[in-house]
């Protein structure tokens, strides 16, 4: 088991390393550089000033050297400084990670809170009108453009009703973006719950349980839902890893200060250390999350635990 974990960690490490090198090369191969981007609005930058700036930032070195230098620094735990603002990349990322994490968790929370009951309802009413209606509603959530929904929610809750604030980072601010995200992903959860439950319900042991005369709700909640949760956990893992990458559009609409906005800003500004820092952190968190999901998976399924 220890060997397995060690092997996992090594693979993860190699993956992240490969991502750093590959992304580094790709970023530098794309035309345009941070200095030009930075000077775009400056009235007085001359070519000489810009050349000097490039030299200072090491941007005149060959691509492979820049990538090698960067990789070396990352291995020593140094993500470098942003080109804009000359701030430590790690600090900026750490500042936002909690926000992104909070939004991911609460968005997921809404998705589960809505999706599991909907999927459950659809499964027990399988093939009937209720099933159809529930599934259409769930799918509708994923079909609405998030920014559009966001604007409408702001208009409704912040302006017309005055219940919730528009921007900021308090707990009341998270409600609207979390709701938007949750509606988007609830369809996925509902679908998964529905099909997992239907599958479980057709298993022999459920029939046995029913035959034994157990109360229907007990059969459903105790005997059916728990095994169905295993499939749901897989989806949750996928969605969560995905949410961690930041929801650029949602973050923009709700002025949520998360990692996605930071990443897009960095891309527009060609801020190489910032872009790469994002990729490093993101790739790492995806790897970590998928590892944790595997472990959780093991806990939920006794057969897996034995192995």
């Amino acid at each position: 088991m220890l060997l397995l974990i060690l092997k996992r960690v090594l693979t993860a490490f190699a993956t992240v390393l490969a991502v750093i090198v590959l992304s580094g090369i790709l970023i530098h191969l794309v035309p345009g550089d941070p200095v030009t981007a930075m000077m775009a609005q400056s009235v007085t930058a001359t070519p000489e000033v810009m050349a000097a700036m490039r030299a200072r930032l090491g941007l005149d070195l060959p691509v492979w050297q820049q990538v090698a230098l960067y990789t070396g620094h990352v291995l020593q735990g140094d993500l470098g400084m942003t080109i804009r603002g000359n701030e430590p990349v790690a600090r900026l990322l750490l500042q936002r990670l909690p926000n992104t994490f909070a939004l991911a968790v609460s968005g997921l929370g809404v998705a589960l809170a809505l999706g599991i009951p909907l999927g459950f309802l659809a499964a027990i009413k399988r093939g009937r009108l209720a099933d159809t209606i529930v599934m259409v509603i769930a799918v509708l959530g994923v079909s609405v453009p998030a920014f559009w929904l966001g604007l409408i929610l702001i208009q409704l809750f912040a302006l017309k009703l005055g219940w919730l604030p528009v921007a900021g980072s308090g707990w009341r601010n998270i409600l609207l973006p979390a709701l938007t995200l949750g509606l988007t992903y609830c369809a996925l959860v509902a679908r998964m719950t529905r099909s997992a439950l239907i599958e479980v319900l057709s298993e022999d042991y459920i029939r046995t349980a029913r035959a034994r005369g157990l109360k229907e709700h007990r059969v459903l909640l105790v005997h059916a839902l728990r095994p169905a949760l295993i499939s749901i956990v897989t989806v949750v893992g996928l969605v969560f890893a995905y949410l961690l990458g930041g929801q650029v559009i949602i973050e923009n609409v709700f002025s949520w200060n998360g990692i996605g906005r930071l990443a897009v800003q960095a891309m527009l500004e060609r801020d190489y250390p910032m872009i790469q820092g994002f990729i490093v952190v993101f790739a790492t968190s995806v790897v970590v999350v998928s590892m944790l999901i595997d472990i959780l998976y093991g806990f939920l399924d006794p057969r897996m635990r034995q192995r």
Partner: protein, 515 residues
Amino acid sequence: MTSSIKSRLALMAAATAIGLAAGFSAVTAADLTVARSVDADSLDAQKASTTQSLQITNLIFDTMLTMDKSGSVQPGLASEWSMSPDGKTYRFTIRDGLKCHDGSSFDAAAAKASLDRALSPETNNPNLSAWGPITGSKVDGKALTVSLSEPYGPFASFLTSIQAAFLCPSSFASAEFKPIGTGPFKFVSWTRNDSIQLAANPDYKNANPLIENPGKPHIDKLTFKVIPEAVARMAALRSGEADLVEPSLEEATDLKNDSNFKVYAAELSGQQMLAAFTWKIKPLDNPEIRKAIGMAMNRDAYASIAFEGLVNTANCPVAPNLFSTDEALCASWGVKYDPEGAKAIMEKAGYTKDKPLKVKLLVHKLPGWDQMHQIMQQDLAAINVEAEIETREVAAFFDYMKGVNEKTDGEPAVWTMGMSGVDPDYLTFLWKRPGFVNMGLNAEVDTMLDEQRKLSGEPRAAKIHEIEKYLMENAYAVPLLSPGWGWLMASNAKVEGFKMGFMVSLLFNDVTVSK
């Protein structure tokens, strides 16, 4: 020159006394929240390049000189200044008793330290070239003496601009920059892309002629929030979450007519919007074709529809209100809106409805501009020019234009841009080869641009007019509108005394918030 400054100082001292007396009763301690679309990218005034950054640094730091509404230069950190007869030496007397936010005093030595840092290549100052041909500086008692290798006319104007902030040496004493200045607000905290917090500087003494309040700003806390989405910003204003916001153009007129809100426009923005051409590429190398395209542009429609009537048409390649700008004169040099005449020119050149001239309309994203480009596209279609709009993000756009302007063949393009500054010298930055994004013209223009820098007063104005006339008669530029970006603010009616200064600087010294 010197004497007039002294008399002005005396006047100001009197005003200060009155202001103080009047001020106490009016002041209500209050906090103000401002919502903008974009965050600052740096609070180091010598490294920042965007307007959004400089709007903040301008509150923390002061400038050596200031400018009044008429465009004439006034004292700032320097209580008086003089220029040697050959125009190569400037002497600035630093005011007495200036205090930095950390308690240290700001004197001539501090000013020299800040100047040295601004000029040091280590700093990577994006505005380095605008400081002019400075060869050295020295401290002389209370005064700072700056020497230049040759006369530099725009120097004094530049020293009033938000790009020429003077920092307290303690801000750059350690490796990590701390925004410590002498300005009306102290830096408290900054969460990138989220908010910047400032607090009133209790020791502040004002020198800016645009400001009435002589001392500490009336508001205690000033918070800048970033709300990228205009719909959300408007919701924040209406719900009271923010007091002052960059409004959406679409709603600004409505706010203007609503007694619950106020709308502010920066008349002194120094902003100017232009249409330009890839004039090295056929058939735009022909001034007649360029003129025809200029004649097709219905600038009134751009102002009234795209900008909801909130901006004015502009006639010069340099913004209104700046030194020597003469709108009437420029109008006589430039093209007039005449779609019929333009169509005739195009048809004569062989471009008909069935065989139109195909061009790209290269633009970058900004509110109002997007709508303007759509109308422009229709305008051009009316004279048999088929324009395809290509929009880019600001940073990517100018990077891209650098390549486009270098080319001598390929697809011809019409493009739009904006420029802002406190002095017409930015013509040098734009048009002197290689020029901004390679838009530089020719040796003749280069010479004229160099000459104007060495002149001052009337002769300089005449030289600038000569350059403007050349640009417009050859239709290298079509002036469109002024101002054009970020020049609008809106507040609820409780906010009093907010002003916008040169280059869209935000002035909060006089702001009070009634209950």
